[in-house]
């Protein structure tokens, strides 16, 4: 059970959070994107072993989404940032 440092609320237990998966960049304008590129955006994720960016929502707290970098091999949390903040 991770202790996740919500960028708004501070450290809270993992069950308060919703996992949103890897952030995917929406290709725009979507109408001009090839089928393959659209499928890549919808379905394909890197699923890295090691440092990995994820989006999480503090659903049972402030309700805010944020980006968390986490090591998927050790479960160590490397950093969190609000959406739009520099990485």
């Amino acid at each position: 059970m991770l202790s996740i440092p919500c960028p708004w609320c501070g450290p809270r237990d993992e069950p308060e959070f919703l996992f949103g998966g890897e952030p995917a960049v929406r290709p725009v304008p979507a109408a001009d994107v090839t089928d393959a590129a659209w499928a890549d955006y919808l379905y394909f994720r890197d699923n890295d072993k090691g440092p990995h960016a994820e989006i999480w929502c503090h659903a049972a707290g402030c309700g805010q989404w944020f980006v968390m970098r986490r090591d998927t091999a050790t479960h160590a949390i490397l950093s969190v940032r609000k959406p739009g903040e520099p990485a």
Partner: protein
């Protein structure tokens, strides 16, 4: 010949006798007994039958390591089919029985299976019964297994708790006590958890002097006034991320009942693991006979419970520790013979010899003899090649054995700590450290105290604090002679048991190695070694050492299997805590819930909402009521409570732009005061929800998602707003519970409602709304219909809901429930998301394709609607189905099938079906391949359900008032 209770000694209270029964026979124990110690004290030898061979088994250990003593226990109406005899505290009135035996453990009818053991080697079931396991499984399962559930509901009360601590100390033996004492002296908050009822760990049975006191007295006083929070009878069963640990507190004496377990989640900044060690046995021929037990367990029964396990005892060991058992049993009056596999007698042997213990070097047990328990023990040289090499036969009812100790590294390993094989101690020990954890793996009391105190200092230092007390002191003990690793007697052709609970022998391990299962993980799965409820606490190290021997590897090369939580079994009820029944999820009630109840509504759960399914009149079935209510709504007027329908306010100057990005339909051009039916798609194009959007003002909308989707829609919009379009100025909030909303539907609805409101209803076209008063209450009336009839949705603040409902009921409108609405909407071909649609349904499949063509701006899911898959011509499409038999209602889920040369193919399925009161016949809706073309051509399909077939005509899904005259009139 059996174990017996001594007249004095032990930590039991002889003034408090506790009656209990064993297979119905009345027995007596004392307060402080475990079920196991009470059974031993009453002379019970056989406590169970083994899992596979149904061999008689007796108490082997004294705590969590016990492989045999799994009992069926009843107390105060509570039932535990797999209670562990060694850890359950005896209570007055307990009824205990052995498991896996019929009619009882002494006369088990399946005991003959053991004669077949030669034909039941490791892997027997895999080799023999696959791939047709399903045919044999019921009978094999009936013979195997442990306790049986009674099938009733567990009425016991469980709960969950959370706690934070600076330091969590696991284990209240001398090391854990020294650690907790040091850490608390530094001003830190400390939780000390120990699985026994009494703190002290090995001090409960070992001789010790600490700070000048007897060890157990020191233990009782070490933490007085320290502020340490002591959780006794609490097992730390799992290590999780970021210092989180799972604890199971077993409240044996909980005032509300028996064994009501409490699950704790403790998150600690520093953790000190001082779990102690578990003894493993020597492995020798016929070492599973009742009476063979661990040497430390025999000492434990004597010192803690005043039970002498036998008057004639053979102690078999490869290390010094068992001499303490031999000396204590001798002092209690037993005749003791000690066989030590080490070639030369250790120093400690002289003390044993001086009190009359016969000590034999280079000796081991070569056989045990006896029916239902050990009676005679053959002893011979440690390198014997045959049982006939025995040099003496000793009468004894107990063999107390020690093969060394395995420190309980489980939590360290669960925390991803590495292990190393320590040659000198013949044990796996932590290699390196885990962040914020300190492990105590001491071999002697002095080491335990020193390491425990040191761990307390290390934890305090890591948290910037200082320990202010000196470590406890203990006299220096003489140096022990080294252990001699000895994994089994080198005799073949006789059974030597490794895993008593899963019936795994030395031969099984050799067979696995011969069949190339050379990895320890394969060995475990092939032989089931260590896979029983005791998780191989006494057998794993012996098993992997034998695998190493059989495969020519070293023990470090073989390594251990992965330790995973839980350390000991965790009650499922404790995991669930209070999250079951009414507390599983919050129930939501409509504002007029009491009014529905007063009408005798058939209340059912829809999502989290309790809603009227229908309003049964006396003598009516639910099906009758549904038909009557639906017909009334079409004939005159019906009244429906739609308060659970979602209401999400979208506010802000960019509200129109944001919603246009979210919804399939155009909503930016919606005029204030108007409503629009809309679909919300996922980015993959699949329809997630449908609903109605109302434009309240230029920068203000109200969304009405489906009742069960409101939270999901809000979460989805929030996610898109926050992550993709944060620059758009909108705010979202759910106001569902602020409003009561009732629908008055049917040809008479306008006439019934008009006298109650100042809103001019004739000026309100379909899909428009107006604010005004209803019976003087400020509210809103929206003309929107889920029935296909002229309908008005009346919304007032929730607190006025009950009175408005009662007033509307006075109009003689017929109240109708959600099941009746479902019939009305099916007659109109209105979809129900999640019923008529699934995770593959695109808008065009529902015949809703206008927005894709007309809407110029991008929206969520748009690009997915032009992929090759979305444009396939053979997609399933939403259709109506008219069964050829108008009295037969097809089963929802029936497949429409096509017979081909090679078999049968599904064309789709029925999604909704009912009897239509408006049409006077059965109707259905479904998703059928190329459905719209079949409507055009007037096609028929064959429906298939559980072997029966029927036929239906494919028609438009709108069965009633296709022109919409009723709706708009």
């Amino acid at each position: 010949m059996t174990a017996r209770r001594l007249s004095q000694g032990g930590r039991i209270d002889r003034t408090k006798p506790l009656p209990f029964t064993w297979h119905g026979t009345a027995m007596t124990g004392f307060a402080g007994d475990t079920v196991a110690s009470a059974l031993l004290a009453n002379g019970v030898k056989i406590v169970g039958r083994s899992f596979k061979y149904h061999r008689a088994r007796g108490i082997f250990g004294a705590w969590v390591e016990e492989p045999n003593g799994i009992l069926d226990l009843e107390y105060n109406g509570a039932h535990d089919p797999n209670a562990r005899a060694t850890t359950v505290q005896l209570q007055a009135g307990m009824a205990a029985r052995g498991v896996n035996a019929r009619p009882d453990v002494d006369r088990d009818i399946y005991r003959g299976i053991d004669l077949l053991n030669r034909f039941l080697p490791a892997g027997f079931y895999y080799k023999t019964f696959f791939p047709n396991w399903h045919r044999y499984e019921p009978r094999i399962r009936a013979m195997a297994g442990l306790g049986r559930l009674r099938g009733d509901t567990d009425a016991r009360h469980f709960e969950n708790r959370s706690a934070l601590a600076d330091v969590l100390v696991v284990g209240a033996g001398p090391a854990g006590l020294a650690a907790a004492r040091a850490a608390s002296s530094a001003g830190l908050s400390v939780i000390l958890a120990d699985d026994r009822a009494e703190i002290g760990g090995s001090l409960l049975w070992n001789d010790a002097t600490i700070d000048g006191y007897a060890g157990i007295d020191w233990a009782a006083h070490a933490l007085v006034n320290s502020g340490v929070r002591i959780l006794s009878r609490t097992t730390v069963f799992g290590a999780y991320d970021d210092g989180a640990f799972g604890l199971l507190e077993c409240r044996a004496t909980a005032p509300t009942g028996w064994a009501e377990d409490r699950l704790w989640t403790v998150r600690a900044r520093q953790t000190i693991l001082a779990p102690g060690a578990i003894e493993r046995p020597l492995v020798f021929p016929h070492n599973d006979r009742p009476g063979v037990m661990l040497a430390a367990a025999a000492l434990n029964y004597l010192r803690q419970y005043g039970v002498l396990v036998g008057d004639e005892v053979v102690v078999a060991t490869n290390n010094d520790s068992a001499y303490a058992t031999a000396l204590a049993l001798r002092e209690a009056g037993a005749t003791v013979t000690l066989a030590d596999v080490r070639p030369a007698l250790p120093d400690v042997a002289h003390a044993a010899q001086s009190v009359g213990i016969r000590v034999l070097a280079n000796s081991v047990v070569l056989n045990t003899v006896g029916s239902g328990g050990v009676r005679l023990v053959d002893i011979g040289p440690a390198d014997a090649a045959s049982p006939r090499d025995a040099t003496m036969r000793v009468p004894a009812s107990v063999v107390a054995t020690s093969g060394g100790f395995s420190p309980a590294v489980h939590l360290h390993s669960q925390s991803r700590g590495k292990l190393r094989w320590d040659e000198s101690r013949a044990a796996f020990l932590p290699a390196g450290t885990v962040a914020n954890q300190h492990f105590v793996a001491a071999d002697t009391l002095a080491e335990a105290i020193a390491q425990g105190h040191g761990a307390g200092i290390a934890a305090a230092t890591a948290l910037g604090r200082t320990v202010t007390i000196a470590p406890p002191t203990t006299p220096t003990a003489p140096q022990a002679d080294p252990i001699r690793p000895y994994w089994c007697v080198p005799i073949k052709g006789v059974r030597q048991w490794l895993d008593l609970q899963n019936d795994v022998t030395v031969k099984d391990v050799r067979l696995a190695a011969r069949e190339n299962y050379s990895s320890v993980e394969h060995l475990k799965r092939y032989t089931t070694l260590g896979m029983a409820t005791d998780q191989g606490k006494t057998s794993n190290v012996n098993g992997l050492a034998l695998l190493a021997t059989a495969t020519g590897q070293t023990i470090p090369q073989v390594g251990t299997t992965t330790f995973r939580p839980p350390y000991t079994p965790v009650t499922l009820g404790a995991l669930a805590g209070m999250r079951h029944g009414a507390l599983y999820a919050p129930w939501r009630h409509l504002p007029a819930h009491a009014e529905h109840a007063a009408l005798n509504a058939d209340m059912r759960e829809y999502g989290n909402w309790w809603r009227p399914a229908c309003y049964k009149r006396p003598g009516e079935t639910a099906a009758d009521a549904i038909q009557r209510e639906a017909a009334a709504a079409r004939r005159s007027a019906g009244l429906f409570d739609g308060s659970s329908l979602g209401k999400i306010i979208v506010d802000g100057p960019d509200a129109a732009a944001f919603l246009n990005l979210m919804y399939y339909n155009e909503v930016a051009n919606l005029k204030p005061g108007r409503l629009r039916y809309v679909l919300l798609l996922r980015e993959n194009g699949v329809v997630y929800d449908d609903g109605v959007v109302a434009r309240i003002g230029p920068g203000r909308y109200q969304l009405s998602p489906s009742s069960s989707h409101t939270a999901g829609v809000l979460a989805m919009l929030e996610a898109w707003h926050q992550t993709e379009y944060p620059s758009l100025r909108v705010a979202l909030h759910d106001v569902t519970s602020a409003w009561a909303t009732f629908a008055l539907s049917g040809p008479d609805s306008r006439n019934l409602l008009a006298p109650m409101t100042d809103i001019e209803l004739t000026a309100l076209p379909h899909m428009a709304f107006a604010d005004g008063t209803i019976l003087g209450i400020a509210g809103r009336i929206a003309r929107v219909s889920f029935t296909g009839e002229r309908s008005y949705e009346i919304s007032v603040p929730a607190s006025y809901g009950p009175s408005l409902w009662r007033a509307l009921l006075q109009t003689d409108a017929t109240p109708y429930g959600i099941e009746s609405l479902s019939v009305l909407r099916a007659e109109k071909g209105y979809i129900l998301i999640g019923t008529d649609t699934d995770g593959m349904t695109l808008p065009d499949d529902l015949g809703i394709s206008g927005p894709l063509r007309a809407k110029k701006v991008d929206f969520v899911g748009k690009r997915s609607l032009t992929t090759p898959d979305a444009l396939r011509l053979d997609r399933r499409q939403f259709v109506g189905l008219l069964p050829l038999d108008p009295h037969a209602v097809p089963h929802v889920g029936s497949h429409a099938i096509e017979r081909t040369a090679t078999g049968v193919r599904s064309l789709g399925w029925v999604t909704s079906a009912c009897h239509s009161p408006a049409l006077g016949r059965s109707i259905a809706l479904g998703m059928i391949e190329r459905g719209r073309a079949l409507i055009e051509s007037g096609g028929e399909v064959e429906l298939f359900h559980l072997g029966k077939t029927s036929r239906a005509k494919i028609v438009s899904p709108v069965f009633y008032d296709a022109a919409g005259e009723k709706l708009h009139g």
